[in-house]
Amino acid sequence: MRIWRFAVYAILLTSALVLTRCAQKSDARPVTVKGSDTMVILVQRWAEQYMGGHPGAVVQVTGGGSGTGIAALINGTTDICQSSRPMKDEERAQMKAKFGRDPSEILVARDGLAVYVNEANPLTEITLAQARAIYQGETENWKAIGGSDAPILLYSRENNSGTYAYFKEHVLDGGDFSARAQTLPGTAAVVNAVSKDVNGIGYGGDAYAKGVKMLALKRDDASPGVMPTDATIHDGSYPLARGLFYYLRGEASPPVKAFIDHCLSVEGQKLVAEVGYFPIAKAAP
């Protein structure tokens, strides 16, 4: 039995040594950012950029959906909530009730919500009304809108997603999604599913559109189809142009403020375009 005792002690000792040597002590309390999956790739790049320029600062970014971020903000478990939709009135009321003041809202970037189809799909544009009919389950076959004779497979987001909520409000006019919409946990998953499914349709932030085709959106039958570009997002001609926000409870503490300032700076906004979204201000011609 002696060998067992020795082995156990050896293992404990080595683990203790390894673990203590590896733990890095960070001086500053980390800034936590939680929320939108749409924004997480952007904010993670911002965080890397910021931490690169400010050694010792720590910014921790997690996704989970805008709803998750807002819930975390109300529950008090995050400093900044990144959200791809504006906060609802009930949510603001909850914040006011809990913390005594309204949340601060900061616009940090712009996005165009895109509708994706498989690259093999012959369609190139779609009206908002057609998108609504499809996602509410009224239109079930591609040929009804000019495509091939095949069933439409709906891919959607989980209900904690800001993208889901935005789509519901602005495309479905608050109506219900068809029960047959498969819910996926992130825009990347939606893009992946649509890229592999010839009859699929999905929606999400335009920065994710790799391997799928974005459809030009028409407000109605008579309008021209518009793709999300820097111009169309800023002049409002793209029907699903939306803001990407940070929400905070009350005033920002200095480390939080420093990070937000970085995101809004020239350097930060340049990163926005690199990632595939659109800066707050229109890019200089």
Partner: protein, 315 residues
């Protein structure tokens, strides 16, 4: 001629040896069932090993994830898993062994309180892992954690997902495993040992501490190792009690969040920004987790076999 031990491979008499179609079919079916299961296991393991093994390099095991999880390694996840499991074992083993010792050595086996404890242990084992996650959130984080914050006047330190709460949740999940294996181990210690110790004037606790627990050590270790293996593999309980997808630093205090192998697999498989690019990393992570749990289970099984062999040899 002596009557040898009864041979159950009873050969039927020649006139009965007709082709028993029904029997043959069902026997074949039963064999095929076993074969099919073995085949599925081989396929799963093979697929993971073949696709993952090229990703598992030293860099992979020791580096941090980079570029949106498409490059780099999974060291923070390994570290987080190790820390989580270490905390869990520290919380679990004293309670589990203590409970098992009480049940075996001290308790009156017919008393309703003893039966209540056994009932609780058996049913704790059957609670779904997601309900443990709910419990971890509702009790540890919001009740205990928020309570501690209020008592100490802190902002939000304990009342949020953290390593300690995830470890405690997992400890509750694995309590039955440790209790059952420790009891099993204590049962294998022959009565004579206890009687001899007591006859020499030792108290019950002295007997337990100096005679029984050392003798039962292989069993206790088996239980601990099985618990570690389960703790490293279960994801549902830690979804809301502490696991995170990407942290730029390693957890250094029990109130930090942590990256974890199983959680990492889940997020990479369902939510990664570029699914095709992260596939090698994903398979590599799966292989690492599988290898880890496999090794742990193998150690536990060997220990158990050794324990049973020594018991057989002793008697």
């Amino acid at each position: 001629m002596s009557i040898s031990t009864f041979d159950t491979t009873f050969k039927p008499l020649p006139k009965q040896r007709r082709f028993d179609l029904q029997g043959r079919t069902f026997t074949t079916l039963a064999g095929l069932a076993a074969l099919f299961i073995a085949l599925m296991v081989a396929v799963i393991m093979g697929n993971i090993i073949l696709n993952g093994w090229s990703s598992v390099t030293w860099e992979f095991l020791s580096g941090a994830p980079r570029e949106g999880m498409t490059r780099g390694g999974i060291f923070p996840a390994i570290y987080g898993t190790a820390l989580l499991v270490l905390l869990m074992v520290m919380a679990l083993v004293p309670f589990g062994v203590g409970a098992a010792v009480y049940l075996q050595e001290y308790a009156d086996q017919t008393a309703w309180s003893t039966r209540a404890v056994r009932f609780a242990v058996n049913n704790l084992a059957g609670v779904p892992s997601i309900v443990f996650g709910l419990f971890g959130l509702g009790f540890f984080i919001q009740f205990l954690g928020a309570g501690i914050d209020r008592a100490l006047g802190l902002d939000v330190v304990y009342g949020k997902p953290a390593l300690i709460w995830a470890a405690l949740t997992l400890a509750m999940l694995n309590l039955p495993v440790v209790i059952v294996t420790t009891e099993e181990a204590l049962k294998t210690v022959p009565r004579e040992m206890r009687e001899a110790s007591l006859a020499l004037g030792a108290t019950r606790w002295q007997t337990v501490r100096h005679v029984l627990i050392p003798q039962a050590m292989p069993g206790i270790l088996t239980g601990a190792i099985l618990a570690i293996s389960r703790g490293a593999g279960e994801v549902a309980p830690i979804l809301f009690t502490g696991a995170a997808y990407f942290l730029p630093f390693l957890p250094s205090s029990p109130t930090d969040q942590f990256m974890e192998l199983g959680y990492h697999i889940f997020v990479l498989a369902t939510q990664s920004p570029d699914i095709d690019a992260t596939r090698p990393l994903l398979y590599g992570t799966v292989l690492v987790l599988l290898a880890l749990t496999f090794l742990l289970n193998l150690t536990a099984i060997t220990l158990r076999a050794r324990m049973r062999a020594s018991l057989a040899g002793r008697s």
